[in-house]
């Protein structure tokens, strides 16, 4: 099995995720893009684990899933509070702090 397609796919997913974070305005979508980046990492970890024939990468993928779940809890709590206060989840509206 050649490893290259998997790594290329994970790099593409990671790039889509990071471009999404930089360009999207809705905090929820930005956050989804971050999750996409984490999943791209998972794919890379699992592919490399297959290549090296050890379990480090697969274990890492499990840990990342748990961490991502914890991050969702915190993230949605913060975005929810912002939305309830401002009636908007746009990252451009939150601009009281600058320069």
């Amino acid at each position: 099995m050649s490893l290259t397609p998997y790594i290329v796919l994970s790099a593409i997913l990671f790039t889509i995720g990071s471009i999404g974070v930089l360009t999207r305005r809705n905090a929820i979508v930005v956050f989804m893009c971050v999750e996409l980046m984490l999943n791209a990492c998972n794919l890379a970890f699992v592919a490399f684990a297959h290549q090296h024939g050890n379990l480090d990468g697969q274990v890492a993928a499990f840990f990342v899933m748990v961490v991502a779940a914890a991050e969702v809890v915190i993230g949605l709590a913060i975005i929810m509070t912002i939305f309830r206060t401002r009636r908007s989840a746009s990252v451009d509206d939150a601009s009281l702090l600058k320069f």
């Binding site: 956050f31 791209a40 990492c41």
Partner: protein
Amino acid sequence: MPDFGKPTIEYVELIPLFVVFGAACLGVLVEAFLPRETRRVPQVLVTLVGLAGALGATIYVATDVDKHADGAARGLVGAEGSIIVDGPTLYLWGLVLVFGILGTALFAERRLEGGLSAFAGQAAALPGTEAERIAATKGLDHTEVYPLLLFSIGGMLLFPASGDLLTMFVALEVLSLPLYLLCGLARRRRLLSQEAAMKYFLLGAFSSGFFLYGAALVYGYAGSVSLSDIDQAVREGTADHTLLLVGIALLAVGLLFKVGAAPFQAWTPDVYQGAPTAVTAFMSAATKVAAFGALLRLFYVAFDAERWSWQPMLAVVAIVTMLLGAVLAVAQTDVKRMLAYSAIAHTGFLLTGVIGAQGSGELGDNQYTSLEGVLFYLTTYGFASVGAFALLTVVRDAGGEATGGSSWSGLGKRSPLVAGAFAFFMLSMAGIPLTSGFVGKWAVFTSAMSAGFWWVVLPAITASIIAVFFYIRQIRLMFFSEPDPDGAAAVTEPSLLTTGTVAICLAATLVLGIVPGPVLDLVVGAGEFIR
């Protein structure tokens, strides 16, 4: 198929971690089972006892650890290679725990808000609504901040001690996630606070994504996430070099974000300004300590053989960071924001130390290695920073803390003690001789000089001079300006918690400046990282 066996855990040496995480879980239980009005005192006690116990355990372990195999470092590799308890780890643990105790004291302060804490009475109540007013009149408090603080400290202990990239990533998240929440819990100026939390969270999650992808690529290169295995693979240098270089760069992005280095510094001023000042005080000192610990371990242990690739990169980052921090701090009118930019400049100075000479062979007499210099600088900067932010909480007007520049004018005439203490912290951050900041700067600059990085030390000295300008400007504003007739702030007398914190920071800054010897000996005695 590899065998799954029972892991060996070195329970004695890892006690500080267990105590802090145990106290955090106990705090959650207190939160669940005690009625709301009675929670505060038990929570503060659990936190302080937990942190003091962990500090005691750290000191016990530090006096007890043996030399590691080859004798260059002291300590041991614990938890199947995941956690490394060596000299630098123990020193950083002590530092984080001390800042944690000071932070807890600031969290528990209630006299400044007239019997309420600095945290929102009920974070779910919308700002400016009836629900918020009721929460305030009932005297409600979010005592959840104490377990959150403990979890964050637990992550900070694990971060510089991690022996593999996976533990490092988990520790990074464990330390960050509670901090995101703490930033959004301010009682006053809640919109700013929530905005700070959102910015910190989104950018923090973004940067940890980079860290993780870097970890995946380095795993692909080395076939293991353990730092010592990566070191070995880098020394052999048989695998694809591109994978390694991209991996190092992405890992560096994640860590440089946490320490607030350019070009990943954008969150620092916003978050430092928006967060409750007690959180800012804790975060500015402890996060830097933990993140620099992890940065040093990663680059010195895992990527030591690749020094020529990352040293120039960090050198450029250091130059940009300190110049940007110092120049933008000059333009600030808000004291809290000015301190945030000065924190960025100090990150640059610390990075100057990171690229410095590591081996004692490259150094002259009375010079310190880069690791020793950075550890000492973290100590001096941490105390000055906690003290300065703690003083921000007591200078107040009708709207809460008065951080706007003009409200501080003439403060020296009204409250010479507060203004004098603040001026002393400013002088220490500026690096004036006889304060601790001078010794710290001298240590990191000489070690960078010995490594031949004169082209980094020159901008560093320039940035220091620019920094002196805005620190002195603040002192001039406090002592030699007439008070602003309509916007003058006054000092609210705090309880012993804040006064004690400031006194400890003052004493540490003074003692480290005049007799730095004992702490420098401690730093030298910490030895090197275990490889």
